[in-house]
Symmetry: C2
Subunit: 224 residues, 2 copies
DNA sequence: AAGGCCACTTACAATCGCTGTAAGGTTTTT
DNA sequence: AAAAACCTTACAGCGATTGTAAGTGGCCTT
């Protein structure tokens, strides 16, 4: 069952939206806190986010931009102001659809359904800056170049990307990949790091994996 | 450069649309024959299709359905009739957006751009009925199950899917895979067919590849 | 400046999946 | 029943992947 997260400060409208989506068979979750909505949104593992523009704290536009930079989830913007500039702005930020209130529930539901269907076929991507990786296939894409990594290296890079721009500890990686350092050679990480670096080099991503002496590794992506 | 194919019978509007998109840096192609537009549309390798509803021959709706069943290209429906039923119907058929004429060029361009961006991250899929295959990775998806095929089998299945529901000739497959039967063992096809069948079996797709004695193979998908 | 720690590099071998070949069996057609 | 078409199984070569091993180089502390 798909989860739809609704970010709307008007209580009445929020409940109505929840009902609309619940009736269509979705798990509809409303966001209640608007101080730091990002966290609550992501915790609910949304398959679709319905976003109001006028919010108490951060605007819907800002939220949209922030979310799109991190997760590959469709975002539907819902607003009371029907202006072309707003729509162009929203679409430019990466919003997937832009509807104006009042919106017929059936239209809303149909648009939402369409987005969910589309995103089912979207690659499961993680990214750090402009570098993306398809989690399922370990294909790293950077501009027009790409390379498919072996599974082990893919797992490592995924971890690094998920932590980006922070670092991933050695322990953490060892745990995630080999269940701790108990039964494998201790330099296994270094070897695989070298392999990963070599592969990234081959598509021009030199110096992307940085060593943090004594603790672990992190990514450093030069923005285009 | 992305190609946008415009299917619109009104000459004046078609040229205008072509201009709009050309100005944005796309290759804009107009369709002129409406007897069998499918062929002309596909020949142009569209990255996006803009579809009018009222056409001389087949309706835009029919075209949309037909196209969506074959290729993974975004379709934007453009119509003069602004009715909710039409919109719901179009979205239900798999249309990705639905705009009404007259439509501001900037809005149209922004929506088109969004769709193109979205579909960049969409897996390159071919399908036969409910069975899909990611062309890049040879991953076959059926409902919740999937399997990744080896390259050779993937190529064969792709060919079969592209021909579906028609058949693919033995010669044709031999040519596509091994450049004819000259330098390979003659039963190579049979062996790989067996392997393919076995792999498809493993996710429940039994009896999907049918032998057509004397000519080739074809797919037979039991619709869900 | 020297020793020790940490990280890197290179080489190697085991394993596994993919692929084409070969040989023999089964089904269908005439 | 014989021939043609198709299927099945086994096998071996090849390449990619992965962990191990051993040696090298750089950085930090004393």
């Amino acid at each position: 069952m798909s989860t739809i997260v609704i970010v709307e400060d008007d209580n009445y409208l929020r409940e109505e939206l929840k009902h609309t989506f619940a009736r269509e068979g979705y798990r509809a979750v409303g966001i209640s806190s608007f101080e730091e909505p990002e966290k609550e949104i992501l915790e609910n593992k949304p398959d679709l986010i319905v976003l109001d523009v006028n919010l108490p704290g951060k605007s819907g536009f800002e939220l949209c931009k922030w979310l799109k930079a991190r997760v590959a989830v469709p975002i539907l913007i819902l607003t009371a102001r029907e202006t072309l500039t707003d729509e162009l702005y929203a679409l430019g930020l990466g919003a997937d659809d832009f509807l104006t209130k009042p919106c017929h529930p059936k239209r809303l539901a149909a648009r939402a359904k369409r987005l969910l269907e589309m995103y089912k076929n979207v690659r499961n991507l993680v990214h750090a800056g402009d570098v993306m990786m398809d989690v399922d296939t370990c294909r790293v894409i950077w501009g027009k170049k790409y390379i498919t990594l072996p599974e082990t290296e893919g797992k490592i890079l995924r971890l690094l990307m998920e932590r980006y721009p922070a670092l991933a500890g050695k322990e953490e990686i060892m745990d995630a990949l080999w269940g701790g350092a108990a039964y494998v050679d201790e330099n296994i990480l270094q070897v695989n790091m070298a392999r990963l670096r070599k592969n990234l080099d081959s598509i021009g991503l030199k110096r992307m994996v940085k060593t943090v002496r004594g603790s672990g590794y992190c990514l450093e992506v030069t923005e285009l």
